[in-house]
């Protein structure tokens, strides 16, 4: 019997288990599938924790989720093709839900497809090595006490551990003596902690944008965002300013590349994450920066170094849950032999062709088109249910324009579902006014 290990029970891991279970319910022999999850419950990043730093077992806290996180893209762009928002919530809901709502939705499908049976919780993977056609996967289960390891063998390993857990944390001159808090967005939990403070945010991507906005929303006195290359350039509300790169700090005074300076109370490093697989033999590890087509992954999934090792969701992301689904269906079919792999050379050529295309990608719109083409390529390979990919692409384009028009207002827009056609209602309160991010409040808005 073939044995498959899935590492992680977040959105990618759950998508993978769902894909296997769909096949099993269709009468396919899926062999044995075992999912190892370090946390006590499923949902990955979406499983919010107040903890930072180390978890109760001395392991790095996986989550980077913070309070009051709302989807920063239309939910219609991430809808599961086989489990619509309408099905889960029993009717239309607005297009930009907060964390608890998306968590409920992810977990809703996982419950429906009964995938909890596959998961060993409280179990951290410590080592994955490969010899004689077999993976040895060494795990530590908290229930057995610290340091007690167990090794199992598998025919395939699917890595679904995400890449928003290991912060990239640069140091600037003066950090050692800055009289205030310095933290990475990985450890950011609650904007309320910064009410009344003058914040310095380093970065120019999603985390910087979102943490700046919500810190202001929950009462920060001022927010200065320092960028290295180019400003995000949104029409920021009063209280948020973008400045060129931080050079150094003197006491609480931040000095920037344009010679300006500001006194700040706290510094949040929105400097991104690193792909980090300390539990995999270095020869097998995916080595990549955060981009739309990591080298070394055929169809963005199959390790060309060892095609029995697969990775989910390692791309930079416009598409998320539905892309993970398509990847998971492809991974499943590769594992089950239903999708035969071409020769190593043909796989390398295919990767190269995508990398060549990717090298020509420049603008945000081209990035959206590129990832749309990638998802379309995946969809053609397997039986993941069709959805209106062109509509999703149009949504992304509209969404980018909406953000340019109003960075505080874009979450009040409404989009049509590419799966059901349902149009999300316009909420009765705006995102900018709404301080309550609970599921109950969201559904009542």
């Amino acid at each position: 019997m073939t044995r498959t290990a899935v590492i992680g029970a977040g959105p990618c891991g759950l998508a993978q288990l769902h894909a296997f279970e769909q096949a099993r319910q269709g009468g396919v022999d899926i062999g044995e599938v075992v999912c190892f999850e370090k946390q006590s419950d499923w949902g990955g990043l979406w499983n919010y924790t107040w903890r930072t730093g180390l978890d109760a077992h001395g392991d790095p806290v996986h989550g980077s989720m913070y309070r009051y996180l709302w989807s920063n893209g239309p939910k219609e762009c991430l809808e599961f093709a086989d489990y619509s928002f309408d099905e889960h919530f029993g009717g239309p809901i607005p297009s930009f839900p907060p964390r608890e709502v998306l968590y409920d939705y992810i977990v809703g499908r996982a419950k429906k497809s009964n995938v909890r049976q596959f998961i060993q919780f409280d179990t951290a993977v410590r080592e994955i090595s490969y010899e004689a056609d077999t993976f040895s996967v060494t795990v530590e289960s908290w229930e057995n006490g610290p340091g007690v390891l167990r090794t199992e063998t598998f025919d395939h390993v699917i890595v679904a551990t995400g890449h928003f857990s290991m912060p990239y944390v640069p140091e600037y001159p003066g950090f050692e003596s800055f009289p205030g808090r310095i933290l990475h967005s990985h450890d950011f939990r609650d904007a309320v902690e910064f009410a009344g403070k003058n914040l310095l945010i380093l970065g120019s991507s999603y985390s910087a944008e979102d943490i700046a906005l919500q810190s202001l929303k929950y009462g920060a006195a001022s927010i200065t965002i320092a960028y290295r290359n180019a400003p995000m350039g949104f029409g920021w509300p009063e209280g948020i300013t973008e400045v060129p790169a931080l050079r150094h700090l003197e006491g609480r005074t931040a000095h920037f590349a344009d010679g300006t300076r500001r006194d700040v109370d706290a510094i949040i490093l929105c400097t991104g994450y690193q792909h980090h697989f300390p539990f995999i033999d270095p020869d097998l590890r995916l080595v990549t920066a955060n981009n739309l087509y990591p080298a070394g992954l055929y169809k963005g999934v199959v390790s060309t170094a060892n095609p029995k090792l697969l990775y989910l969701g390692m791309q930079d992301q416009y598409y998320t849950f539905n892309m993970f689904d398509a990847q998971a269906f492809v991974a499943r079919d590769v594992v089950l032999g239903r999708l035969p792999l071409p020769t190593a050379e043909a796989m390398a050529d295919d990767v190269d062709a995508w990398l060549t295309m990717y090298a020509a990608v420049d603008t945000v719109m081209e990035q959206i088109d590129f990832q749309t083409a990638y998802v379309r390529d995946l969809m053609a390979l397997t039986d993941y249910p069709a959805f209106d990919l062109d509509m999703v692409r149009r949504h992304f384009v509209t969404w980018e324009h909406d953000k340019d028009e109003s960075i505080t207002g874009y979450r009040d827009k409404s989009f049509a579902s590419p799966c059901t056609g349902t149009v999300g209602p316009i909420p009765s309160s705006t995102w900018w006014e709404e301080l309550d991010d609970s599921l109950a409040r969201f559904l009542a808005r």
Copy 2:
């Protein structure tokens, strides 16, 4: 040639290297001694870092050191018997120095005894196992890139990794929805971050005491300390109150065991640390709570499970640097065969005798006497230079009384050196007034 691994280059590891180097300079063949240190520099906890959570390599940050930490015991009680404060600073200094001063002192001796030669920095120990009379020590050096492991063999391993790195982080009902910061003292860096805040501190030991006081000193609005068993009961300054155990939180309202409640802005868990050796084979790991005589260590140093494995500084501590020195001299002499070990049975009997004595220890004064007797026992075994242990014992007793008399004033007292007889001068500013904890300021006071 005999090979000895020392894990960690903090106060204990440096004491060990110093002990070996003293022997070597005396003409003894010490074989090869290799110290592995995860951080980029020496000093262990005393090597302050602004980082929290994960370090630049994704490893847990070792340090729990915070700004404005001043020694909470007289420096005379921790003085190196072979490197006096007078020698290092060229004259008398007050009895309660801040971190930078103690760091300078520790490092000063390490420089003088030229122990940097033994240390491999930026090198984390990943695994220690034992087979056929030999230890295999697997390390990861950052310079070789992530995941590249190297295994060396050793005849002895001395573990000097400390036990103030792995926080014990309990959870209380309501933490999930508390609208403010929750952190363990391990992640506490700067009291200034809490100026103007109403703080809840959980705990009743040194961290709770010290973080409460300095948070108030640097401007916290109020501090509530919740204890589980008994209050510390000091004469707290206005603004600090002790209350019975936390039961739960409702929003920002903390509810205590006596039915009282308080609204708080942040929660600091001063709930202690766990001995944590994830890098040692479970069979060889020391398993102990924080106490004055961990079971399983002959003379508090030699693992009875495997006498070629030694641990330094694993005791709860009144004595520190000088006790580490005495342990390091004993460990060195065991490793070099100059201090022959008795039979396993005799070692177990000795441990049992100490544990029996320890079981009768009740009061703080009895604890001081117990650890004094332990250090005296170590001193008799080896050639660590004598110092006036009875004087140190008396200092601890006086110090405890001083704390009871004035928890904000005890650091302004003066003590005589058990090594040189020098009496520390009374500083010109009180600890409570003095906000500048730099070495420069301290020496100018």
